[in-house]
Symmetry: C2
Subunit: 300 residues, 2 copies
């Protein structure tokens, strides 16, 4: 039987595996903080300040207890005991030619038997490279297609809608997949949903290690580093203004330092910054829009 | 008669006066963008990137039209034509020994005769200096006391409660005054409220020019600059997560670049940053709490 303990163990193993692979490439080691939640449960926050990863977090948590009022309202469940576990990753690379990546897999259950999975992976290149965008989306599609033909198109659209910086009228990056409340609806078993979510988690390394190793040693200019800092400003804006997970965590007295590991080491804001016409920066900005079909996109 | 046009003209003149005085000290000039609001009205956004002010905005706006639904809900007024005008300032200095300052004065009215004023000034020192905190609060008290004995204690408390970074359990800085919905309640006339609000606006320069000129040429270390960037990260967190004005503006399709002029040129986030025990940074952090009586505070 697929218990919550088994799911949490699998997520822990996923965290271990991802950290090990990232350490092998970067050379630096993660710093780990173990923490406990006053109401029950806790986590392992792991932070890296590396040679290639300027700042990154790979966090695991498994928390439980009486369902807090605010969460109860937000998810429309009337009290009881909850359990929630997940892995959350955000990596901000040194080299602006390497994209920022975010991944999350999570499981939630109530003592009355209600349960669901959620998660996703999305990519925020400082410079959009169509070949890399195609690689990224095809990897996600491949993982999704192994489980359900509808997963990729549905969750790709969900990511476009979710990772949207409304006040900039820009997407955060080139999207990816996002899903929530995957349960026994549509005839799925818990094991089938879990297998899918774990497969998503296991797609993280093949995707990011390629994008990282392909680009991390490329030379870059001051202009490119500056642009990276401005794009990171947008990342901060999304996370603090629009990201439901972040707001929710901060609002329900979550562990602030673990939640805000997603913020970059350095970000810039410049009043009314506009990239040069026909520049690579302008190309990127023009393509930060919803509903791009990156699998078949050809800029020619 | 005190019309909305007169109030807007006075706010414009306040903006002009403050910009001129800041330019005289800094040496740099403000860049001005005139903008129009699609639904009616517009503004003058003025941004400075100076020798002493690393990034700052002194904005005026006067907007009008049909009351947008979201605003209608938020303020509990059922439709109609609105008019809103105000001046908003945020200055991020180069020298970490100079504090960040924020000021806002604003007026709102509906075509059914409802009107009110709001505003405030608050100070965010990167390094708290008790003498400067006393100077700042005594200037505010003096301005308030000219109008109403209750203003200072009431609005000082309001600022403590408003400029609070809940997820950090820190105040943004040493507070100041904050007020909203000052209307004909408590027997005040519109002219009396207006005189007070304008006096608050006119207190900005005597306060900030002193804090700026006293400190802007002092030498500072890399450590102090680094700490400034971390404190700016907190400023960003407050503005994007908790500031009602910012959230509201972004949510109701306000002019993003004018709203986000409050963000610093550079901000840093470091995982779980803790100042050295007994350092000036630790002293500052320990004093970022509500209900400090800065007028009589003595650290000895």
């Amino acid at each position: 039987m697929l218990t919550k303990e088994k799911i949490a163990e699998a997520f822990k193993a996923l965290q271990d595996n991802i950290c090990e692979q990232l350490e092998n490439v970067d050379g630096a080691k993660f710093h780990q903080d173990l923490w406990e939640r006053p109401g029950g449960g806790g986590g392992r926050t792991r932070i890296i300040r590396g040679k290639h990863i300027e700042k990154g977090g790979v966090n695991f948590s498994a928390v439980e207890g009486a369902l807090p009022d605010k969460i109860s309202k937000a998810i429309g469940i009337d009290g009881g005991q909850f359990f929630a576990t997940g892995v959350s990753i955000v990596l901000h690379p040194v080299n602006p030619l390497v994209p920022i990546i975010h991944m999350n897999v999570r499981y939630f259950e109530m003592d009355n038997g209600v349960w669901w999975f959620g998660g996703g992976i999305d990519l925020t290149p400082h410079y959009i490279v169509p070949d890399e965008a195609r690689f990224f989306h095809s990897m996600l599609k491949q993982t999704c297609d192994k489980h359900q033909a509808e997963y990729y198109p549905k969750f790709k659209k969900w990511a476009d809608d979710y990772f949207y910086i409304k006040h900039r009228k820009e997407t955060r990056g080139i999207g990816g997949i996002f899903f929530d409340r995957l349960s026994s609806n549509d005839g799925f078993t818990k094991t089938q949903r879990f297998d899918y979510v774990l497969d998503v988690g296991n797609t993280f390394c093949p995707i990011y290690l390629k994008l990282l190793t392909d680009n991390m040693d490329k030379p870059f200019s001051e202009t490119q580093k500056k642009w990276q800092h401005i794009r990171r400003g947008r990342y901060v804006e999304f996370n603090l203004v629009w990201d439901k997970g972040t707001k929710f965590g901060l609002d329900t007295d979550g562990r602030t330092e673990s939640i805000l590991m997603s913020l970059p080491a350095i970000a810039n804001w410049e009043y009314n910054h506009q990239p040069e016409p026909d520049s690579e920066e302008a190309f990127t900005l023009e393509h930060l829009v919803k509903d791009m079909d990156w699998l078949s996109y050809n800029p020619e």
